[in-house]
């Protein structure tokens, strides 16, 4: 388990979802991405969606937790990463957070397609 420690609170991420702690490149903002998504960044040579589940914004150090959500690479960021013993907190449902963002993206995409068709 890995703990994401923010300014106000901390959450834990299960090892079933968490893969590795990695360094990543600059975050590229994507217009229309809903929070807690910050943008897209390259980690271990591949682009991945960057999520900020604690809402503290992009961290100073480009170190994040690379997760695998049903085959999709998702990068979770926080002020710092720690072991669960240092910062106890609730377990984060990464799939739910990712699903919510993905749902909003698809809904907006569908809305735009509808508007173009109309």
């Amino acid at each position: 388990m890995i703990a994401l420690v923010g300014r106000a609170r901390a959450v834990r991420v299960s090892p079933e979802v968490a893969r590795r702690v990695v360094t990543f490149g600059p975050i590229t903002q994507v217009p229309g991405l809903p929070p807690p998504a910050l943008g897209v960044a390259v980690a271990e040579g591949a682009p991945c969606l960057v999520l900020d589940p604690l809402g503290d914004g992009a961290p100073d150090r480009r170190v994040g937790l690379l997760c695998d959500v049903d085959g999709e690479a998702v990068l979770l960021v926080a002020a710092r990463l720690a072991s669960p013993d240092e910062a106890p907190g609730d377990e984060l449902d990464v799939r739910a957070v990712y699903g919510e963002v993905e749902g909003i993206i698809w809904a907006r995409s569908a809305q735009r397609a509808y508007e173009r068709g109309a």
Partner: protein
């Protein structure tokens, strides 16, 4: 005997009066010239020593500046080294987190052992990071003090440069004053016919002669000294006064 003694006394007194007349014309000038020479004789080496001390101080300041530059280079190297240490500890922390994650995925005692080792490594890395932060703070404080010292050295260097110019001017002025005083002494000698230093020596000799005459007169009046015994003592004095008379007469002509 008494007439010869009186004639001798008269000669001595008249010679002293003539010497006194000559001294009346320019005793202040010769005295002032003598005092000025004495003062300059002390001033010239003082100004030269001062110029030497200022030059030595400038050398010391330059040496300090060189040390300061070397210290600055050392501090820059230390800062770079602590940055590398910090980067290494950061990476070590990431490795420890990943090892803990793998330990959590492994089942059984192996997983727990791996997680425990990973956690210990991470704790050590965090303590080392804290120590590195302390080193950085100390380096920053040292840099601040060094910056202040650099400013102070710069101000001191400027002041010493000004002092060196002033000291150099002082030496030149002292030598010029010495030359001017020598010139003044030559002109004074030409104007009065007597070298001021010689005039000062003559004045002292006249004083001694007057005191001697006075003592001999007292001794003679008491019958303590015979005239024949006085001759070896008085003859040089008489010759001196004769010479003074001759010089005076030649000037009057």
């Amino acid at each position: 005997m008494a007439s010869r003694r009186n004639k001798l006394m008269d000669l001595l007194l008249r010679g002293g009066e003539r010497a006194e007349e000559r001294a009346v014309d320019d005793p202040a000038l010769t005295s002032a010239h003598t005092r000025a020479r004495q003062a300059l004789a002390e001033l010239v080496p003082v100004t030269e020593r001062l110029a030497g001390a200022v030059a030595h101080a400038r050398g010391t300041v330059e040496a300090l500046s060189e040390r300061e530059r070397r210290g600055l280079a050392s501090r820059a190297e230390l800062s770079a080294a602590t940055a590398r240490v910090r980067d290494g500890l950061d990476r070590l922390g990431i490795v420890a987190l990943n090892a803990g994650l793998e330990g959590a995925r492994l089942e059984g005692p192996a997983g727990r052992a791996l997680a425990m080792v990973a956690d210990e490594i991470r704790q050590v890395a965090m303590r080392c990071m804290a120590s590195t932060d302390e080193v950085d703070e100390a380096l920053h404080a040292a840099r601040t003090e060094a910056d202040k010292a650099h400013v102070a050295l710069g101000e001191t260097r400027e002041r010493l440069a000004t002092a060196a110019i002033e000291a150099s001017s002082g030496v030149a002025l002292a030598h010029a004053a010495d030359g001017a005083l020598s010139d003044l002494g030559d002109r004074l000698g030409k104007a009065t016919g007597v070298d001021p230093e010689v005039a000062a020596a003559l004045e002292r000799a006249q004083t001694h002669a007057r005191e001697l005459v006075s003592a001999l007169s007292l001794a003679s009046s008491r019958g303590l000294v015979r005239g024949a015994a006085l001759r070896p003592v008085l003859e040089p004095i008489l010759r001196l006064f004769d010479q003074l008379d001759t010089d005076r007469d030649a000037e009057d002509e």
